[in-house]
Symmetry: D2
Subunit: 331 residues, 4 copies
């Protein structure tokens, strides 16, 4: 059995990941940690998430120095569902101890440390690690995920955007930037009391326009500039990214469809042209659904990708990274 611990287990992503790991044959969930001064310290995870009552029986333990040292002894891998900076601070010690690190935060998604000061608001504490990190877009980088000990699990918006855009990168007319409009459920904002996520304040609205920290992530991975406009939607889980691109003149629907065959036999499903995914089609699921339509006269293509932000956009993609990394079959 491979022992996996989760640091930052009380949040939506951490708890979702705990459920997945607990159910995965071959993996043992060996510890759930929260920060030392967390009010949730000591509680069973299922007290925070009653839906886990039957599924995860571990308590949340405070991540003391001793707990961290002990963890380094008995775990094979650690998932970081922590803040970006905390992840960056924890990774060196964990790697030093020989553990595989799966960082669900943005702490290791860029090789260029300047992005941290510009978009994340901090100096990266261990920039030398950044070049060793493998970006964990699981459908694309299996070989690297198998090899690297430091996996940067992608952000939710970039996952939806890149799954839709990477297959057709070669068909894009470079004169127009892809325009990505995406709507995320409120769980993307985390399990923290704030006016923004107050039930009565939530209503469809753009935010982080022309400067969201997932913008450089998408651009880096795609190798081209894009316009990325995230929105907050009035639902709990899921992301829909609707993407408008210009294709090279003369591109046919068959060419578009062909491009997406790269996902055959995976959990990324292409719908027939003109069929569109709904957010709820993927809520709670580890699948991605992609709809598309091409206007052959204008060479305009609209592609929409729906994922669950907490699953394919975080926890289930992390699980895919874990199973690939440790050489397991997917469930």
């Amino acid at each position: 059995m491979t022992n996996i611990a989760i640091i930052g287990a009380s949040g939506y992503t951490g708890a979702t990941l705990a459920e997945l790991i607990a159910q995965q044959p071959g993996l043992t969930l060996c510890g759930l940690y929260v920060s030392e001064n967390s009010a949730d310290s000591g509680k069973p995870l299922s007290e925070l998430y009653p839906n886990l009552l039957d599924k995860v029986s571990l308590p949340l333990k405070p991540l003391t120095t001793e707990a961290l040292a002990a963890l380094c002894q008995h775990a094979d891998g650690v998932c970081l569902a922590t803040d970006h900076l905390v992840s960056a601070q924890l990774a060196p010690q964990l790697l030093e101890a020989g553990l595989s690190v799966f960082d669900l935060s943005g702490g290791h998604r860029f090789s260029d440390p300047e992005i941290y000061s510009k978009f994340y608001g901090f100096e990266h504490p261990s920039p030398e690690l950044l070049s060793q990190a493998q970006y964990g877009l699981s459908n694309w980088y299996g070989a690297g995920i198998a090899k690297s000990k430091l996996i940067a699990v992608p952000g939710c918006y970039p996952t939806a955007s890149l799954l839709a855009l990477k297959p057709i990168a070669a068909l894009l007319n470079p004169q127009m930037m892809p325009v990505i409009n995406a709507v995320s459920g409120v769980s993307g904002a985390g399990r923290k009391a704030s006016l923004t996520s107050h039930f009565c304040q939530v209503s469809l609205t753009p935010y982080g326009v022309l400067g969201h920290r997932h913008l450089p992530e998408i651009e880096t991975q795609l190798g081209t500039k894009v316009v990325f406009t995230p929105h907050l939607g009035n639902f709990k889980r899921g992301i829909l990214a609707t993407i408008t691109v210009q294709l090279e003149a003369g591109t046919t629907p068959a060419q578009v469809e062909e491009a997406y065959h790269c996902y055959d036999n995976s959990k990324v499903k292409l719908l027939p042209q003109g069929h569109w995914p709904k957010v709820d089609d993927v809520a709670g699921s580890d699948c991605a659904l992609i709809g598309w339509k091409l206007d052959s006269e204008r060479n305009t293509l609209v592609v929409a990708c729906a994922i669950d932000n907490l699953m394919k956009g975080a926890a289930s993609q992390a699980l895919e990274c874990i199973t690939i990394h440790f050489g397991m079959e997917a469930a």
Copy 2:
């Protein structure tokens, strides 16, 4: 013109009331106040509530000692949309200055000061005022509201419950306590960041069971014991109170209908037997809708009353108290 100020204007109730007063002929909204250290101090109310952009242009002012003194000079009436204890602390000075006080909190709803220590968790600072306060259930106590300078505007659940139960009080079989199950929108919890009102945490659930502070309010006004079970619902505004009672044997549907004629020509509307109000029928409205059905074999009556918790359950009932008190026609 009658000058009305609102203290505690940044909350949902206060802002709703500001909109109503600003639109009411004969009233001038003369000041909006928040606590001295509020982060919203100085902002126009419409910055917090963009839906008011066209309707209320006043800024939120900090309630300093000087501001309070000035307010006592130029206002005719003051609405307190503050915490219970704050209301109780402010009322004496305002009354002393000759103002009429409309307290939307629970600070003056009981003549028995012991209820404050038992259900509200504080010693009432001016228990001698309690007997002067008039409970402001506007459809029932117009005369008292006209006379008293201290109006205790009812709570939202009690308003829905009492509007349904008071007309049929004489028909009740005293052997069974009325059973009130009510569901409130999240705005009832106030505009404060908390995990309880986090969008992802909200889902239909009971709370405050067998001890909510609206229980003694309902029992005091009805003069009988009840079972009251409030719930939080996944909607923003509105309350539905579904009430089950046993009637005296032989009571007919006609007698029930007759009892509710007391509301003819008012904004409390009785639906035909077997028709039921929806919460959204009254969202944003100053009306109450009452549905009912009698099982004549079992003498069981189910009555459901829907109101908007922020309107008839708070702000629009306060406005009714104001117009009654100052001898104005309703709009």
Copy 3:
């Protein structure tokens, strides 16, 4: 392997059941049927439910006479997710062919055929079968479910109500009828276009007051009269039943807790006194959560039971009946 077919597979209950059976070790989903003239006939189930794309690959077949005959040859059990009358019409032929029948409709829930004319609006076509049917409340009637070839899977409201009330039946003060207020998600109304389930028309409201067809089901199984008031809530899945009862004077919290020990080691979970389930705690789950609070002075007990109406209230309880009946371990 045990072969199970589903008739009426295009509805919410049928599709949920298809997913569960397809995932259950030891069971083979051997056919999905819809009525002969259904517009969905011929489509893969996952065209209607894209969330099943990766999970159920069978198409919906029209239930022709030939299809029914063939089904009788190769299936071991049949689930009826059909209208009440259709279930009652299909059962005799299926039983005749030796199949085990799991009826998720109300078609066989009563031994008294008069209830069908009074509450369901039809004469039962095979009243002689009613006494052979076993009511499939799985936590209570395992032995009967194992033996009978005709299982009447309970309704959603009765499941929530009976799970909460049966353990404490002996503690009830018979002078007061239990008062059940329940709220169901819209999926309970089925996958049929109607103004009632139009997104813009849905808002919390009572319906079927004092005469819903689940009333006789609850009363029959509980052996006592109750007041049952169902509501439609603005959510997709789940039921919350909040139940108010009077207990015999002197009943202690410990006695109440003790009564619910009957559910130890099952998927029905009792929360600590004063903790309450949310509908979303059980959405998508096969568990039931029960919260409770006793007012020892007044001997009033409030119990709330939350289930997923499509799972424990239909499909997952049907699956429990199947695994019990065929002598399998639960998953």
Copy 4:
């Protein structure tokens, strides 16, 4: 007093308009009509919309030949909240009788009749009227609205899109088509039972991609090609249109802000740069809110416009057309 009748008054748009007209000084709501065979014929409008109980007392009358003739006698203006083709069929007789016609359908929004066969699926029955119709975008075409007897009230998506785009038309870089992503509440689909608007089927999703009938309306009025991708959102009322454009190199934020001064003193409100409207900020309101942000390095501008689809996107804009047309002050 000016007498206004509404044909098609039972739908969401018609009912909203009835409420507005009934409240508007100077206007008399002189008749509410539904099609002859409508099941709602004869009912008071408030039976369908209990929120109107206190506001509109008229019944829905069947539009018989006689009723139409009578209407032509006593009304000054008629609002058509009917299907596109029905509007086109009714307009000639109403105009013939000298009435002013406010068509809220798409029946008269294009001077080119070919658009009807291509996007609306019918041959326009009176193409000669099309050139007389005035497009009723009230903030832009006051003079024409005052003069013409046939006003084509704009569609909801075009209203949101054009309010945002028309002021900056001169600043657009013509090399990139504006990309409009818009999300509408379900009320936009009308008050008709359908699987699409079933509560359980609704979840954020694109529809009508690259061919919605509001596409030619936007392009005609803007005089340029656009990409328009509508979405259905899981809310009842409101539209958010998020629009991405390239501006001419060197355009400054001050120039953008200046362009929107055309809306000063109107109900179209520009928010400060980087502030964004929520759908619920305008739900139930006759205002439009516009947020914007310019990336001066890339010359990319994102503009978002929020309106209530039933109000500014239909009924309140129709009311503005009526008050302009009949020379009244706005309320």
